[in-house]
Symmetry: D2
Subunit: 417 residues, 4 copies
């Protein structure tokens, strides 16, 4: 990667190879604190073992790049696609999702060896310009799994009554933020990915949306505010909740965000005293919506959020222009508050995750990446402390079901003006 | 209704009283073919017994009009609100939804007596102008339950392996329709209820939406076309389906619309040979979406549908300007095809059921009518053969979960142009 | 029955015809207070609608007597066996058990007409001596369903929050009983049906069992004693319970017998103040066992119970020699305490329901009557206030799963001596 | 253990200490082929991770011997009892059973260190004669968990579609056995533990039982015979099955014993060709009963089995007099057929697992060992290839629910004579 290159042309290949290498290295650094056993457990159907994330991302490269695009490549192990394919129907049958936690074999080291093998085999492909979009997709895909790996292992360690921790570090105190509002006059806004550079298919086509005047809070709702919501009977007041949300609260005896216990929060560093100034995280859409109702405000639409993120001229910078608290090395992801729209936690919008006008999924198996999930989920914007820095952007659309809350999910209020 | 009216003033009160009376009478006419036992069964949690619909609509009048607005009114039976409240949290605890089928008491005749009692007690209220909006709501509410009553009893009779029928009539043959497209140039469209007259709170506020150019089919998808979809392996081809839809197909071994068996359909008149020219009905959102994908088109948004319904000048007539096949007496609802956008079946849109900009639910218990259901459901437009004529309009938003299909649900294709 | 009989021979046929007629009449008298709707509801998978019991008992006669033994008999309705067969695999497919509550058709009157038709058709069969055993089986079968009909409709009416009652009568006060013990010196006891007269196949073959010395209480445990058990924390003390029982208590939040509410019990006559002197009923095996442990005693084995019932000479009278409170007309079954071993409630034994030595089920479909249920259930002895008088006997083996308690189940303590 | 001992007296202490050491060593040898990840997975609620078995057996010693009987002993880790208590209610709350698979921490090595610590701490207790019964219980307890460890890890590895194996060995061919019958003339038999030496409380009190004449097969049913049962439609013939068994077959689509696939069986050594002469294993009670019915025979009672095992004089040797194929080192347990009644597989009896006359559980937490499981289960006799040699005896009563089959369970036929 660092060798001297006299020609100008190969620059793109080099740049992408460097990002490939950095991404692959970060994934491995994230699992460095984990034992084979830690990396094997699966705590619920939504989550996957850390080991599986390591293998699945590698399966992605081996399948869509090496197998499909590199002449003569032979699969490292012909039986592994069955266990490491996630949901690509076009790639055939696969292990039941909630059986991933039974994979004590292959070992973590065997998967690391596979990773090294695939990385070596990838070398000749970076120079092939026509593959750049697919490689970009693979990098973004692996970054998404870095975040899932972190939230999944957090959920797994949380099951352990002995208070298992992944890193031994004390969370830094959060910075208190003043209330403020980003106002927007309404009118036609440009939405969706429109610049150069990689984006997922679900971020386009770029199109125009008509907005009413509104304001978006300049800061995230905090743990301290959430404690007030609880103290005011938020979880016992049916009128604050969506009907499905109230049913969810009652059936699951929900009375606080996930990972709350007394005055402590569970983190990748074990149990720690809750910081009232830190953004609240690990809430469901139902909780976010109920809080907003209680607060006399509402959640923003995904279009409102994006319009603010793009700013006056409508030209968002390619990547998270507002800085913030995101993942840039293999340390523990810990929300501590920041000034930008990106970082700390994904922010629920009241927009359902649906196709943009004229959206068409890509052909082939990678067409299953996004489009087929467009029912029943809500869009989240921004990025979290577990999102690789550089991964998100103004047009980025994350999505989860309204009851899910094992991600670093939080909220930023909006209001009509 | 047709009588001569010399005086100007009493018109509003009389007109509304007449519609009240007609609505109440139609509800009772619908259950005339049912025995007490027929009216008692509950086939699934989504459905309610016919008897319960009769009672619940009466509870609505007794609670929100008589109890709350008529001095000195005493409840007919103080224990009945517990069993006949549907989902109004503000009205207190109530019987578990899936226990409604245990109500062999009160009898159908006892409920009819209650209805008569309430109808008599309502007399003085029609002249009070300030109550008109609430009475309009009650009439629309009862019309909605007329439709549910019909679809619920159909589902109940369907459970009976002996082929129970409610009416003894042979369905008329459907009229074949030519393919055609309503084209729309895109641009800003006015959406939502904006005229005089009653509308549910979820139909407003009126606002503007920016549309891309599109076309909406002039006709509904038919049983014959659906048979082609099946013959072409539609239910076995994962790539046509949303991910949740595919899981639903597999878990429930779905291979046809509800009420299909060999070359017959179950109807309120028992099993009858399926009519290839009739609109397909009793499909889920997942099926509608998969069919549209298979057909190379897509579902419309609720905004596109409404824009076509409103026509050139954007001024839809208050009620179903396109005629069509809707409920106007107590005969069996049977889809047989029609030329308008309204009637035969509700049409799935790809729009999630969410609040319009600046939407606020009404204060009090009736505020629970619509707003709290705004997650996880999809909007359907139009009206069905089980919808009371005059009930629907261009701004009407029906909504169901994507797996539900016991309503008369169908689809009308859309495409980008 | 009371007519003069000069000839000796025809006596058997006449006697059995009279019992047939009386049994059929009692079944119909039991449902006289029920509406068609009452007779249609099914409150849980274990229970069946009253209407279904009326029909199923008739199906039994039509299938095994008329269809199989009467030349030229044609089924009343060829589709009905599918819905009114209970569990006879040899008789083909049938409606799912928990769909019986969807049978609003045929109506109660239609089933009564079928009953009359079958009763008339049966006339020529009583004189055929070779059919007597099968007719006896049919009578006993219908008596069993009389009891199930009563316990099932009780459970159904109980679901109604309005406190529906089947009879309008006030339960008589129970007679207090003194504690006493029937002692037995142990040794070899004759067990099983050994006299003339009908018995189910599971009551034989008669055989010998070796007993240790023991004593059996002369009376049933009462509601008053059960209240002491509750007051002493019986339902919160794990050490009193079988492991499966404790799991059942916790999962279902059990804290009292079925049909208890404050100081009232639900009966066929509605809610009434609980009588402390009456035998406790509607308890599960788990509860019976926990109570016995708490009381410092134990449950008897089925052999101990039968040995006491047979008395000194080992020759129990054919039918319930001890009198007691059993069903002999169509009044409400109400436990009020009695001196015999039979009546008021079935009494749990600690014996699993298993085959006696050399047991073989009968050939053909009626061989499915008892044998195939010999796993996972416990034997109950005696009879209840809902058991037709004359139905039970010392060798009678009733059986239920350890969690079931919608029957009139109670307990009689035993101890080692 | 190997030190010179001049005195005669300490013999008992030495002998028991040697068995303690051998048992503890065998447990650890069994897990030697497993990685920490292998030892962490839990494949179903019935099974526990290998790691958990290692820890739970150690918890037993630490709790009931060291904590309760050794002055001044302090718990190795005060939080561990919460996670390593199995089901002893008297020992307080504990982790949910199906969360044991989340224990990636403590590591396998940390648990081994705990084992060593406890082993060292136990040293002074062996000489205390009054503790011998409790130590014997602890040894037998750990032997039971050796067997569970083996069957649980087999079930865990079986989930892995990659065919994970624990040992790399080829199963030896089974020895074909001729059919023969052990006949018994009936009469009074002595049942239950009556000699010196350790036995579980559920094996007593010794008592007499009256038997009818019968014969017990001299050999186990084989895979080859089971294949005939399948070929003859055994799994599709309702009349062969208990009612609960037939429901289980249909709901779970059962068509062969567990671990059968085509002509192979899954073993601790991976997938291997099935040996027709080897005893069939991994069947449920329902299957055993259906096979016996199909074969025209029946299952023995536990009393019949024991009477044959005790032989002519009624004096069974303390431990498995018939030799056979049992666990005596840390090799893979593989059924290969043998001549004795013990070994290869546990043999289902038709006896429900119930208390013997005058049975009383021990006082305190160890009283929960057996008694509280006496409902819903069936007794199995003999021993399996995964049972530690010396662990079983004629009076031994193993017990499982009728649907369970992940143990080495098989059958030996009986018949009336």
């Amino acid at each position: 990667m660092n060798q001297v290159r006299p020609q100008a042309q190969p620059a793109l290949g080099e740049e992408i190879e460097a990002r490939y290498a950095a991404t692959r290295a970060l994934t491995e650094a994230l699992v460095a604190p984990l034992s084979d056993a830690d990396a094997t457990i699966q705590s619920m159907e939504d989550a996957s073992p850390a080991k599986w994330h390591l293998a699945h991302t590698t399966w992605f490269w081996e399948t869509f790049l090496l197998r499909d695009r590199l002449d003569g490549y032979r699969l490292y192990d012909e039986d592994w696609p069955f266990v490491f394919n996630s949901y690509y129907e076009a790639e055939g049958e696969r292990i039941a999702r909630f059986s991933r936690g039974m994979l004590s074999r292959p070992t973590l080291d065997e998967i690391r060896a596979w990773r090294a093998h695939v990385d070596a085999a990838m070398a000749p492909l970076f120079a092939r310009e026509e593959l750049a979009p697919l490689i970009e997709l693979g990098i973004s895909h692996e970054q998404q799994h870095q975040e899932l790996l972190l939230t999944d292992i957090k959920h797994g360690l949380f099951q352990n009554p002995l208070g298992a921790a992944m890193w031994d570090r004390r969370p830094a105190a959060a910075r208190p933020q003043d209330e403020g509002w980003h106002e927007h006059p309404g009118g036609i806004a440009r939405i969706g990915h429109q610049a150069d550079g990689f984006a997922f298919d679900n971020e386009g086509p770029a199109h125009r949306v008509l907005l009413e005047p509104f304001a978006l809070s300049s800061r995230l709702v905090t743990n301290g505010e959430w404690a007030e919501f609880i103290a005011d009977g938020g979880y016992e007041t049916a009128s604050l909740w969506l009907s499905d949300g109230w049913a969810w609260v009652r059936e699951n005896a929900i009375s606080a965000p996930l990972y709350w216990r007394d005055d402590e929060n569970f983190t990748h560093c074990g149990w720690h005293k809750r910081d009232a100034d830190a953004p609240v995280t690990h809430i469901s859409y139902y909780e976010a919506d109920a809080f907003a109702t209680w607060a006399g405000h509402r959640l923003p639409t995904e279009f409102e959020w994006e319009a603010i993120a793009r700013g006056q001229d409508g030209q968002a910078q390619a990547h998270d222009p507002y800085g913030g608290n995101q993942l840039d090395d293999a340390g523990p992801p810990l929300p501590r508050g920041g000034e930008g729209l990106f970082g700390d936690c994904w922010q629920f919008t009241r927009s359902a995750y649906l196709p943009y006008p004229r959206f068409r999924p890509a052909a082939g198996a990678v067409g299953e990446y996004n489009g087929k999930f467009m029912s029943g989920q809500f869009v989240l914007k921004g990025a979290s402390c577990a999102t690789a820095r550089g991964h998100s952007r103004a047009s980025y659309r994350n999505f989860f079901y309204p009851h899910q809350r094992w991600q670093f999910t939080g909220l930023r209020l909006a209001k009509d003006i």
